[in-house]
């Protein structure tokens, strides 16, 4: 549980620390299945984090490998003192490597061997999921008003601040902020509704089978 800084408490799912401890303990004992579980659990989240921080898919992909390798190697050597803090440990490694990357002095990970059967980081299922999500996002974007699309484009792709967008579009900054939030909410709702309905379709198909 953590505080979001606005007086609201952010609730974490129960049992999370127990899961972390189990995975950490198993990896330190050389359990290859636990290594798979570790990668499956952290890889998508690390990818999201690295992509958000670097804004570069190639760099994020390289760093993702480095973080996973460094974390697994450290876990194998039993370097995690509090197994229930596995997530914090992984985050710490990710931030260290990001800092090194940004200082243009990226450290090479230890030359320890990787398990041969480490899950494919670019697994086909994950890619398919990404493509489906992106395709739903594309339809959602197409449903927006042009101004809202432009604001989102300028925000998320061009990295412009509301003040600058406001100047370019000759709108008030407050209006840009409002439209940006409204467009984001609408688009997320659209993507979610679509993914829920597609999930339901999958379930119905399975039941029929």
């Amino acid at each position: 549980m953590s505080d979001g800084g606005n007086g609201e408490t952010w609730v974490l799912p129960a049992g999370s620390e127990g899961d972390q401890a189990r995975i950490a303990a198993a990896v330190s004992q050389g359990d290859r299945a636990a290594e798979h579980a570790f990668v499956e659990r952290y890889q998508p989240k690390l990818r999201a984090l690295l992509l958000a921080r670097t804004r570069n898919a190639d760099v994020a992909s390289d760093l993702l490998q480095d973080v996973l390798i460094e974390a697994l190697c450290a876990l194998r050597r039993g370097q995690l003192r509090e197994p229930s803090k596995l997530t914090a440990f992984v985050l710490g490694i990710a931030r260290n490597l990001l800092n090194s990357h940004f200082r243009s002095a990226a450290r090479e990970p230890d030359s320890l061997e990787l398990p041969d059967d480490l899950p494919d980081l670019g697994a086909a299922a994950a890619r398919l999921e990404d493509e489906e999500r992106e395709s739903a996002a594309l339809r959602a974007i197409a449903s927006l008003e042009t101004v809202d699309r432009t604001i989102l484009q300028m925000t998320l792709i061009d990295g412009l601040k509301p003040g600058v967008i406001a100047q370019k579009l000759m709108l008030k900054p407050e209006l840009v902020r409002q439209r940006k939030l409204r467009a984001t909410r609408r688009i997320i709702d659209f993507v979610r509704a679509r993914s829920q309905s597609s999930h339901e379709i999958h379930l119905v198909t399975r039941q029929k089978e």
């Binding site: 799912p13 129960a14 958000a52 996002a137 432009t150 601040k161 003040g163 406001a166 688009i187």
Partner: protein, 291 residues
């Protein structure tokens, strides 16, 4: 224990992706979405939207409506209208010239001479008006940029900024520098003050100070003056006969795709011609102007 309903992601995911979330909140949010599937899904959706926007900029209405460049007339009317206007201006100029100088033979026109009138410059060289080889400094446009009042104002305008800009608009560069350089760094006008102060220093011929201040404005992130600061850094480099440095700044100006893009492109073409003609120019000796 009740489960998360996605509020953290709704509050933080967009600013997180924009890179504007404070660092301590970034760390909290990352720690949260690593364990919260609802917030993580929200973040993934938002990243998918970013990816879709990045990979498909051709979605109708996105690129063509980006109003960074304001057009005088819509295409195709623009092309012929501008062409016709240019032809008329040329015809009037030729007729007037012949009327004023009936017996005089027409002098050869220097292709490198600028068509537009030159801005007045108290110091430094002017642009070329003959066919002699141009020096980079002759390309430098050191005219004061027009004051664009910010429309992002939330609080009261700083009185020193206001007074400095009055001096600026009256062409009193020394007065403007004195006022603008006293605007406190925490003021919301600080960045604009630094930019216009740099413009005045540039106009006064204090190129090193001007370059330093323009550089700070240009590297200070998104700001209405960022593009102009890069453009004027290029002009300062040209004034210091540093075409290779100017080329770099012009490229950065062009990359911003703003109002100065075309102007920078035109100038960069001429700078590159210069660099090609005398490659030695590209090996500039280090000095304080170039950062």
């Amino acid at each position: 224990m009740k489960s998360c309903t996605g509020t953290p992601a709704e509050l933080c995911a967009l600013p997180y992706l924009e890179g504007v979330l404070p660092e301590h909140q970034v760390e909290l949010f990352e720690a949260h979405f690593f364990e919260c599937p609802i917030c993580f899904a929200y973040l993934q959706d938002l990243q998918a939207i970013s990816a879709a926007l990045a990979r498909h900029p051709e979605i109708p209405g996105i690129k063509e409506e980006k109003p960074a460049r304001r057009r005088l007339l819509p295409f195709p009317a623009r092309t012929w209208a501008l062409g016709a206007a240019a032809a008329m201006v040329l015809a009037v100029a030729v007729i007037s010239f012949r009327a004023l100088h009936p017996g005089q033979q027409q002098a050869p026109i220097a292709l490198t001479a600028p068509a537009a009138p030159l801005p007045a410059k108290p110091t430094g060289p002017t642009r070329a008006t003959s066919a002699a080889p141009l020096r980079p400094s002759q390309l430098a446009d050191l005219a004061l940029p027009p004051f664009v009042a910010p429309n992002l104002r939330g609080a009261q305008e700083d009185t020193r900024f206001e007074s400095g800009m009055n001096d600026y608009e009256n062409g009193d560069c020394r007065g403007a520098v004195a006022e603008l350089s006293s605007v406190p760094a925490r003021s919301e006008d600080a960045r604009a003050a630094r930019f216009y102060c740099a413009a005045c220093e540039m106009r006064l011929g204090n190129l090193t100070e001007a370059a330093a201040d323009m550089g700070k404005v240009a590297t200070d992130g998104d700001a209405p003056q960022q593009e102009s600061a890069l453009y004027y850094e290029a002009q300062i480099a040209l004034a210091a006969d540093r075409p290779a440095t100017a080329h770099r700044y012009l490229m950065r100006t062009i990359a911003l795709e703003g109002d100065l893009e075309q102007k920078a492109r035109d100038e960069d073409r001429r700078v590159q011609e210069m660099l090609n003609e005398s490659p030695g120019e590209s090996r500039e000796k280090p000095e304080s102007i170039a950062r």
